[in-house]
Amino acid sequence: MTIRKYLVLLAVAVFASCGDVCLARGMRDFGAVTSANWRWLLSALLNPWIVGGIVLLILFFSTYLTALSWADLTYVAPATALSYVIMAALGKAFLHENVTPSHWLGIALITVGVGVVASGPSRTTREHPARHGHRPPQEFDLRRGSGSES
């Protein structure tokens, strides 16, 4: 794994958490949505926080797909779970949400899980034969049949 790829994984977590926090902040301007006032959701699309949240979630999806193009799903999913931790920190800092001992225990478990998976290989499957002349990633070791760490 190169530094660039670790940065992509970090970007996945940051974009996901910041996007969700922006959406949550934006929806606070509107209150609870019910069947009586569902049309508010349309006007929510003009709210700067909601627009920012949507842009960040598009960036999240782009980086998530990029990560899946060179790493296993069972590597990317736990490795980007740091987004839950960032979301809790941002919720406490900017939305003044309460972080309970149960939350801290959850944060600790997620951090351990991320550490466990990130210390292993990012890919365990062979690259699909390229149909467009594209070379396989350099760190993929075909002799071992698994991703090699650099």
Binding site: D72, P78, Y84, A88, S102, L109, I110
Partner: protein, 126 residues
């Protein structure tokens, strides 16, 4: 609404979210490193390739199903149950489905990581 409906809804979320993730992963694995592809052929080519992938489009459909299943299930049960249960079980579902359908080598390390993260999400969302 009874517990049966709520857990059926959670099951629908987990199955559709897992199917979406597996199909997206399958599509991206077939395309190869998107970063390298973008440097070689340009962003427009990458977008065109991704958007024309059947697995990607089917994955999007399942992700939309997961989203609407979540909305419906949230109207039946409490968010403090539905949210963490669905998110945690999706991590476990992903590990099992990736092993079966994507032939990923899900060793003890990855199962342990998935369980730690699933447990952490459950605590965090309480």
């Amino acid at each position: 609404m009874s517990h049966g409906y709520v857990w059926a809804g959670i099951g629908a979320i987990v199955v559709s979210a897992t199917a979406g993730d597996v199909l997206q992963s399958h599509a991206m694995k077939r395309l190869g490193d998107l970063g390298a592809l973008r440097r070689e052929r340009g962003l427009a080519y990458v977008v065109r390739r991704v958007a024309s992938s059947p697995s990607f489009l089917l994955g999007l459909l399942f992700m939309a199903m997961a989203f609407f299943s979540l909305l419906v299930t949230l109207s039946w049960g409490e968010v403090s149950v539905v949210g963490p249960a669905a998110a945690s079980l999706t991590f476990i579902g992903n590990a099992a489905a990736a092993r079966i359908f994507l032939k990923e080598q899900v060793d003890g390390r990855r199962w342990l990581a998935a369980c730690f993260v699933a447990g952490g999400v459950a605590f965090l969302a309480r």
